[in-house]
Every structure is written in structure tokens, then in C-alpha cells.
């Protein structure tokens, strides 16, 4: 079982990202869950989305998880959210930030002893430069592929094309570029 927790703001596409990942993973025959807690929250409110991935049917419906990966797609939430909640000794963190990794870690006490498990990229900048607006969900998936090794980049890009099939070609191409850049730029 792999568990992933997204820290996001409503409107940044964490739910879409989690569902997109779920669709890609399900196509390989694995079982998935993609869910989120929201409802009365408005755009901009802090929220969590979640993924569970396993080889057998997933019957745990508890919201709480001990994440293997924590994906922070809003820079501010790295400071204000409890991003290390319920984590494990091996939990990997992927955080979007404009700061170098050392500077970011220096500002977040909870990450001090996890330096080698913290990875950073500027998913906001990547999405602005490729997709044309702040939509850090797909670049974060690219970074996750690099850090987790879940799928080779090419295979993941092909799968994501199908997930995004309802969008115009221009948007699909921009997302492919965003994923690729994130894959290469995450540190």
C-alpha cells in the first residue's frame, strides 16, 4: 500500500491531480483511492487530497493515513499546514517553493531532521511558464514520478494524455511540458 497526502488550496487542482493519478494507476491494474475533504471551503482555503494505491482492493475508508509521500503544491502551506502529521520514518516530501531546499528547510522546524527526504521544485513557476497560469497539480505529478519511480516518465506522459483527452491539444501539450520539466527539475 502506498499512501499519498496532498496539501493544497481549493482551486489549485489537487483533487484533479489525485484523480488523474488514480486513473493512470488504475489503468495498470492496481487498485486506487483518490479522495479529498472539502465542501463548504471556498477557493483558496487550505485542504487535503489523498491517494491510496495497492495491489489488492482497498477497503480502508478512514480519512487518516500515514503517508509515504506528502505533496505540498502551495508554497505557503509548507509553513502553515501540519505537513509532517502522521508521517513515517521513510515519508518523502515534495514541496513547491521558489526557495533553494536548504533555505526552505531552515524555515520549517518540522523538516530539520528529514533533510534527505525533502525534495523541492517550483511547480507554480513551471505551470505559469508552460500552462500559462498557476496550476501546480500536473507538475507535482511529474516530480512524484521522479522521486517515487512509480512509472517511467514516457509511460506516465502517455497515460496522462488519455486523462487529459477532453482538453484542447494546446493544453495537453503544455501539461506534458510541465510534467517533463518538473520531472527534470525536482531536487
Amino acid at each position: 500500500m502506498v499512501e499519498i497526502r496532498w496539501h493544497s488550496r481549493a482551486g489549485q487542482g489537487a483533487v484533479t491531480g489525485a484523480k488523474g493519478l488514480g486513473t493512470v494507476v488504475a489503468a495498470t491494474g492496481k487498485e486506487v483511492q483518490a479522495y479529498a475533504l472539502y465542501g463548504s471551503a471556498k477557493r483558496g482555503a487550505a485542504m487535503n487530497a489523498y491517494n491510496r494505491i495497492d495491489d489488492k482492493p482497498i477497503i480502508n475508508h478512514a480519512t487518516k493515513m500515514n503517508p509515504d509521500y506528502v505533496l505540498v503544491i502551495d508554497p505557503g502551506l509548507a509553513y502553515t499546514d501540519d505537513i509532517t502529521k502522521n508521517d513515517k520514518p521513510a515519508t518523502q516530501y515534495i514541496i513547491t517553493t521558489h526557495l533553494p531546499k536548504e533555505k526552505l528547510i531552515a524555515r520549517i522546524p518540522a523538516l530539520q531532521d528529514k533533510t534527505d527526504r525533502v525534495h523541492v521544485l517550483d511547480a507554480i513557476a513551471i505551470s505559469k511558464e508552460t500552462i500559462g497560469r498557476s496550476m501546480p497539480n500536473t507538475p507535482m505529478l511529474g516530480a512524484l514520478m521522479k522521486i517515487s519511480g512509480m512509472f517511467p516518465l514516457d509511460a506516465f506522459l502517455e497515460s496522462m494524455k488519455k486523462v487529459l483527452a477532453k482538453f484542447p491539444q494546446k493544453i495537453i501539450d503544455a501539461n506534458m511540458e510541465a510534467i517533463t520539466r518538473a520531472y527534470n527539475e525536482v531536487k
Binding site: 489525485a18 484523480k19 488514480g22 486513473t23 488504475a26 489503468a27 487498485e31 486506487v32 483511492q33 483518490a34 479522495y35 479529498a36 475533504l37 472539502y38 465542501g39 463548504s40 482497498i58 477497503i59 480502508n60 475508508h61 478512514a62 480519512t63 487518516k64
Partner: protein, 413 residues
């Protein structure tokens, strides 16, 4: 003629989307709705299928849920296949008309995305709306995940519209936990789904101008009782039809449903009885307890909440070595024991086995139900079983902050 919708063999759907696809595939004639969180995407989905030509039907926007169900009753009496969705406060506002729908024997399908009732205002899932409607004379099916929300919605049309039944059917799923959780779903293709549901067969329809009929007549003490008795019998007798249709569905899909689902029960000494997505979480707890601690734990889950499977609950209890059961109620009991506890206890009282039964109020307003908590509850049942009597208050609260809250004690074995 409606357009065919492209569906893959494996989809990643949440419970809401799954239910909306089932409404489309059943080619529902009329959906009258007043959308409410967390069930909004079901009727929103149907509306978009109508707008895009994927279903040949009418979406009727109304000014309240009372009006929504009223319009559904009217459309059903006119002779159409009718469905809608609601949750919580919307369900409460529908309550009056729910009784009209069942008394008038209209096979409306209501997909209920379970959500807490205010106050305090809350959009998250618990079963207070389901419990509120349990005496409304509807068949109540309960889905534990997105796949089941899809499957049971298709079955609901078959069951309710069966000529021996003709009763409205609710299909419950947990707000957010099921409705907003995408999981793998194996849907049927449109043709196969519609073939399973079948053409709608109207009964006493008002649009038959060769046979004018009165619907919704008034009766006083001279007729009312007989009509309610006939209605109750139809609901009780629907048990066999439900089983037949579940069997047909299994033949088509390989997916098996029973009026009472049981897991790991054959040799179980302790069990949790629950509804909704908690059933699956409890299964995981039972599996882990068996593996890690050797406790023979199992799970009992009424798939059909109404008509209540009194018969099968008794069979299940007498067919296993159960010594202690925790009945889990996800609804504030309002000054009584939880409804599931009462109904399970009543069934158990007429068994030879008569296990010890305690009641847990849990999960109100979407409070998380973890595998650890399910295990703790099962282990507590093991302690009752070993002691030969209930060692805690009979009613307790699970997952509540503050001092332990519980009511009533007994040493009776």
C-alpha cells in the same frame, strides 16, 4: 434516441459519478431536483447528460426538496421512470413527500448521499438522514463504495418497478467517504445496463386517457389501516424479489449482493455490525486482528436496511459461534439506544445463541472511523465474551473527545 456514452471497462469514478451514470443508463424520464452537498454531482450529471443528448429525459429544476419529491411523485404517477438525489437537510425537507411516494406505490429511485443533519450545520457524512427516513415505507439499499453505488442504483430500478413490489427505493452512500472518493469501478456498457434494468412498465398511469384514475385519495379510519397493511406486506415481501434481482445481477456481472453481507463470520466469536463505508474499514480491522492477535472477528452488514433483514440476521447469529457483537450507529440516537442496536438486538433475542450486544454511537458529522478504533471495539467485544457479561456501559460513544460517555450497565450473561 439517446447518444451512446463512451465507457471504459475500468473507470475511476467516485460514488456520485457512478450513481449519475446509473441514472443515465436506466434512461430515467424525469429527474426533479434541488441540488445539495454532497449529492449535487448526481443530479448535475443527469442534467448534463440531458443537455448533451445522452439521455432522453427531462431535468426539472424546482424551488425546494419538498417540491423536488412532489414533482417526482407527479411524474411517476403520470407514468414515467423517475429518480432524484438528496442529502441531509434536503432529505429532511422531502420527508413528508417520501411517505406520499411510498403510500402511492410509486417506484421512484432516490440516491441519498448520507450527510449529518444540523444543528450544528455540517456537510460531512453520517447516517442521520438515512435513519430519519427509515420508517417512510421505502426500500433502503446501502452501498459501501462507489462500485456498489453504481450497481445498487441499477438494481433499485428493477426492484422498485417489479410488478410484485411497486415501491420507491433509496440507494444510500456515505457523503464524501463514498460520494467523493474515486475508486476503480467496472461499469456495464449502456446496452447491457439498460437491458438489465428493462423498459419501464407503467401501472395506473395518469397519462392513460382511456382509464381515468384518482391518485392520492383521502381515507380515514375506515380504509387507511388496510391500505397501510397492504403497503407493509409489499415491503416485507420485496425480500424475495430483491434476492431474485441480486441473483440476476450476479449472473450478469459476477458481483454478488446479499440482503445481509457477512465477512469472516463462520467461526467468529466477536463481530461489528455496521452500515456504509465503515463496513469495509471494519473488515480490514477483523482481518488484521485475526492475523496479528488470533481474535476470531467478523463483520455483519445489512445491505438492505429496509425491509430489515430480521430473518437473515437471526440465521447469521445462530449460524456462527458469536458471543459478543458491537452494533455501530452513525446517527445521534436522540434519547434512545441506536436504531441498528435495537433492531439487531430484537432479532438476536429470538435466537438460540443470544450473544452479548453493545451499542456504539460513532462518526457523527463525518468524524473519522479508523482501523485502530474498529480493532479496539472488536477487542472490547472479546473482553465481554471472555468475561461472559458486558464489561462496559451498554451504549458508548466512539471517537469522542472529552471524558468517556456511556449509558446503562448490566452483569446479565
Amino acid at each position: 434516441m439517446a447518444k451512446k456514452f463512451e465507457i471504459n471497462e475500468i473507470e475511476v469514478w467516485d460514488g456520485n459519478y457512478a450513481a449519475s451514470q446509473a441514472l443515465r443508463q436506466a434512461q430515467v424520464d424525469v429527474v426533479a431536483a434541488y441540488p445539495i452537498t454532497p449529492s449535487t454531482p448526481i443530479v448535475e450529471g443527469y442534467g448534463s447528460y440531458v443537455a448533451n443528448g445522452y439521455v432522453d429525459g427531462e431535468f426539472v429544476m424546482v424551488e425546494s426538496e419538498h417540491a423536488a419529491m412532489s414533482a417526482c411523485v407527479g411524474a411517476a404517477a403520470a407514468g414515467g421512470r423517475v429518480a432524484t438525489a438528496t442529502s441531509s437537510q434536503g432529505f429532511a425537507l422531502m420527508a413528508e413527500v417520501l411517505y406520499q411516494a411510498s403510500g402511492m406505490r410509486q417506484p421512484i429511485v432516490l440516491t441519498v448521499v448520507n450527510r449529518a443533519l444540523a444543528s450544528p450545520l455540517n456537510v460531512r457524512g453520517d447516517h442521520s438522514d438515512m435513519y430519519m427516513g427509515r420508517d417512510a415505507g421505502w426500500i433502503n439499499l446501502d452501498a459501501f463504495n462507489a462500485q456498489e453505488a453504481y450497481d445498487l442504483t441499477l438494481c433499485a430500478f428493477r426492484i422498485g418497478e417489479h410488478l410484485d413490489v411497486r415501491l420507491p427505493v433509496m440507494v444510500h452512500q456515505d457523503g464524501f467517504t463514498t460520494s467523493h472518493k474515486a475508486q476503480k469501478v467496472n461499469p456495464l456498457q449502456d446496452e447491457a445496463a439498460y437491458k438489465f434494468v428493462g423498459d419501464y412498465v407503467p401501472v395506473d398511469e395518469m397519462l392513460d386517457f382511456t382509464r381515468a384514475v384518482t391518485h392520492g385519495a383521502q381515507t380515514e379510519e375506515d380504509w387507511h389501516f388496510e391500505h397501510k397493511a397492504k403497503q407493509h406486506k409489499a415491503l416485507m415481501d420485496s425480500r424475495t424479489v430483491i434476492e431474485e434481482i441480486f441473483a440476476d445481477f450476479k449472473a450478469l456481472t459476477g458481483r454478488e449482493y446479499k440482503r445481509v453481507e457477512t465477512y469472516l463470520l463462520d467461526d467468529a466469536e466477536v463481530a461489528i455490525v455496521a452500515l456504509g463505508s465503515s463496513v469495509e474499514t471494519a473488515r480490514l480491522a477483523a482481518e488484521e486482528l485475526r492475523k496479528d492477535e488470533g481474535i476470531k472477528a467478523g463483520v455483519i452488514a445489512p445491505r438492505v436496511f429496509r425491509p430489515f433483514p430480521f430473518d437473515l440476521i437471526r440465521d447469521v447469529i445462530d449460524g456462527s459461534p458469536l458471543k459478543a457483537i458491537a452494533a455501530m450507529d452513525k446517527s445521534a440516537p436522540g434519547g434512545a439506544m441506536g436504531a441498528l442496536f435495537n433492531e439487531i438486538s430484537a432479532a438476536a433475542y429470538t435466537t438460540q445463541n443470544r450473544p452479548l450486544i453493545t451499542n456504539f454511537i460513532y462518526g457523527l458529522g463525518g468524524r473519522d472511523f479508523s482501523v485502530e478504533e474498529a480493532k479496539r471495539i472488536l477487542k472490547e467485544q472479546k473482553a465481554h465474551a471472555d468475561a461472559g457479561h458486558i464489561t462496559t456501559p451498554i451504549q458508548q460513544f466512539s471517537g469522542l473527545r472529552g471524558p468517556k460517555l456511556g449509558f446503562f450497565e448490566t452483569k446479565r450473561s
